[in-house]
């Protein structure tokens, strides 16, 4: 078991625009990333992209079906978020804000008349998982499609093979959206135990799928 070696962090950078109305000090990771991005720390916004690019794309895929257009609109959404970041009042709610931007970008696209190449009917109830996979598959080569299928099959197998408590904790986090404290209350465990269960479960999955990800390392952040 590795020992945490994180040193005390320096104080957060001050907000960038002294004239703008200021929100409360960040109470979350996302709030801290937004504050630092507003102060000019570029890597902070890059991390917001890493965290939310798939979810933003999935929101857009609910109404737009062409993979190339989804990608372009996802980029548009992040550009708008970047430009609008100083105006975000509740910095701890970055994702709900970005989700709204993503939906608006998609809706604007549909209204703009630029959607002649994307004339399949929108299906707001469509399953995001299936759509995400189809979009990826249609955008890549046959080899990429096969590799993606194998990757996610391996991921599901690794998830199924986890000890029950690790799997339950991860599912409560990702499917039910519960925070660590709520998961701990549900499972009757200390919060630190839940934190450990989740990280160990993810780590085991990462070990299982990592060999399949090596060929594409250069394509990731």
């Amino acid at each position: 078991m590795r020992v945490e070696t994180l040193n005390p962090a320096p104080p957060a950078a001050p907000p960038g625009d002294a004239d703008a109305p200021r929100a409360a000090p960040p109470a979350s990771v996302d709030g801290e990333l937004v504050a630092r991005a507003c102060a000019g720390e570029e890597i902070a916004f890059e991390l917001l992209v890493v965290k939310y690019q798939r979810r933003a794309a999935a929101e857009i895929r609910r109404v737009v079906h062409d993979a190339a257009i989804v990608e372009e609109l996802t980029q548009d959404a992040f550009m708008r978020a970047y430009d609008g970041l100083p105006d975000l009042q509740d910095r701890d709610r970055f994702w709900p804000w970005l989700r709204t931007i993503s939906r608006n970008v998609a809706s604007s696209y549909l209204r703009s008349g630029q959607n002649r190449l994307d004339d399949r009917p929108a299906d707001p109830d469509a399953d995001a998982t299936i759509l995400a996979f189809e979009q990826h598959a249609s955008h890549g080569s046959v080899e990429d499609e096969l590799a993606a299928r194998q990757l996610f099959e391996a991921l599901r197998r690794a998830m199924a093979a986890l000890p029950d408590r690790q799997r339950d904790a991860i599912l409560m986090r990702e499917i039910e959206g519960l925070d660590y404290r709520s998961i701990a209350a549900t499972m009757g465990l200390p919060v630190n135990t839940v934190k450990s269960l989740i990280f160990r479960g993810r780590d085991a999955i990462a070990v299982a799928i990592r060999p399949m990800l090596q060929p594409t390392r250069s394509r990731r952040w």
């Binding site: 590795r2 690019q53 990608e71």
Partner: protein, 84 residues
Amino acid sequence: MVSDRTHPMNDEILSAFLDDELPPERVGALLVALREDAPGSAELRDQLTVLQLIKDAVGGVEAPDDGFTLRILARLRAHRDARP
């Protein structure tokens, strides 16, 4: 079974970070460790992206990163550079 990574910024910190459960005052140290010129940052970035992929997949969005993130960031840099 745990990964054999040796970076001192361990996976428990990355996992808590991605879950929005890391105390905000500790985010700065992680950002320093993730900078391109920081020792071991490539390894750390890779683990972070893999953990995020797992999070997204379990949450219902199965999409491998085929350069999607890098293309967003490239356009962002161009956008930023074009600003007056």
